[in-house]
């Protein structure tokens, strides 16, 4: 019994097996974090991989839980691992079919902040990508309506970047009530 269990623990999750078989060139790294499979995917193939994950009948990651990003500019270890890509766009997926979660991470370099939008796959990605654009300044190509969603329209900068000061740049004292459209 214990042997069987050991074998089961050692066996790879289905999603990794299938990704290695079909998108081996896209995979940069794979990991497991608290029971969730984590894969790091090349930006060029990111859309194809996500489409595959959603449409494959065995995997069927049909639920896009969240889209967000991480600014790794002060995480030396992460930077070195992924060719000094400053940002990591993170997609959290869930499969009702397999009852399991998957985290897809895509490194994005600061000099090319664009990444294909996944709104054609999940319509719910619309606002999530707008939030990521608002907070990190990542451009989602093909997004139908890429505007700020939380900060005011005339806000400058992207406040969740690590180089943005916590107390802001004086915007909370500086107000022009006449200019703003209420």
């Amino acid at each position: 019994m214990s042997e069987e269990k050991e074998v089961e623990e050692q066996s790879k999750p289905l999603v990794l097996e299938k990704l290695e078989a079909n998108h081996a060139d896209a995979l940069l790294a794979q990991d497991e974090s608290r029971g969730t499979v984590v894969v790091v995917v090349r930006k060029e193939q990111a859309y194809a991989v996500l489409e595959y994950l959603k449409t494959d009948p065995e995997l069927a990651y049909t639920f896009l839980v969240d889209v967000t990003a991480v600014d790794n500019s002060q995480m030396e270890s992460e930077l070195m691992q992924f060719d000094y890509a400053r940002f990591m766009v993170v997609y959290q997926l869930y499969s009702y079919h397999g009852q399991c979660r998957l985290r897809v991470k895509v490194p994005v370099h600061e000099n090319d902040l664009s990444i294909p939008s996944v709104t054609p796959l999940w319509r719910g990605a619309n606002w999530l990508e707008r939030e990521t654009y608002d907070m990190f300044g990542i451009n989602f190509e093909g997004h139908p309506d890429l505007r700020r969603i939380l900060m005011p329209d005339d806000f400058e900068g992207h406040p969740l970047r690590k180089d943005y000061p916590l107390r802001g740049r004086g915007e909370r004292e500086r107000f022009n009530f006449e200019k703003q459209n209420v």
């Binding site: 939380l150 943005y164 916590l166 107390r167 740049r169 915007e171 909370r172 107000f175 009530f177 703003q180």
Partner: protein, 170 residues
């Protein structure tokens, strides 16, 4: 209230004639019918709802008639965090209220930003609109809000101008 009874002594008018000033009568009316405009943006608003509900019953002090139109209200209760995106909205609502108008800044966040010392949060609404009464607490208990309403009432009784009027004549 500044009431004086005329005709102390003898006669038919004994105690039946009252003299006062028009200001005092008007203030008496204002004091007992403060209509609040709630501006609830956070957990303070929950306490404000509790204050208005039956258990704490703000109508005992004549302030239960919540108006969601600023044009019909004379007491603005700012209860909650105000972000830089919300401040122009608050300012617009304050401007729409008819004079005389009073403002209560309820809780730590509205009064000074509270624990949210970040780029997006106004560090005290009194930087942009005049505030008459501040309530400390995070969130304040309903009794604190009742106390603030009574302080506003006392201010009206004393004939003092609202902070907003003072600001205009300064």
């Amino acid at each position: 209230m500044g009431l004086d009874f005329v005709g102390q002594g003898a006669g038919e008018t004994d105690g039946n004639i009252i003299t006062t000033t028009i200001d005092k009568v008007v203030n008496w009316g204002r004091k007992n019918s403060l209509w609040p405009m709630p501006f609830g943006t956070a957990c303070c608003a929950i306490e404000m709802m509790a204050t208005l509900a039956s258990k704490f019953d703000l109508s005992r002090f004549g302030s239960e008639a919540i108006r969601f139109s600023p044009r019909q209200s004379d007491l603005l209760i700012v209860s909650g965090r105000i972000s830089i995106k919300m401040m122009p909205v608050l300012k617009r609502i304050y401007d729409q209220m008819p004079d005389p108008k009073w403002v209560i800044s309820m809780g730590a966040c509205a009064s000074c930003g509270g624990v949210f010392d970040t780029y997006t949060l106004i560090q005290g609404v009194d930087q942009f609109i005049p505030v008459d009464v501040y309530i400390p607490g995070c969130p304040p208990r309903p009794e604190d809000l009742i106390d603030a309403v009574i302080q506003v009432q006392e201010k009206i009784t004393s004939g003092a101008s609202p902070k907003g009027v003072e600001a205009v004549y300064e």
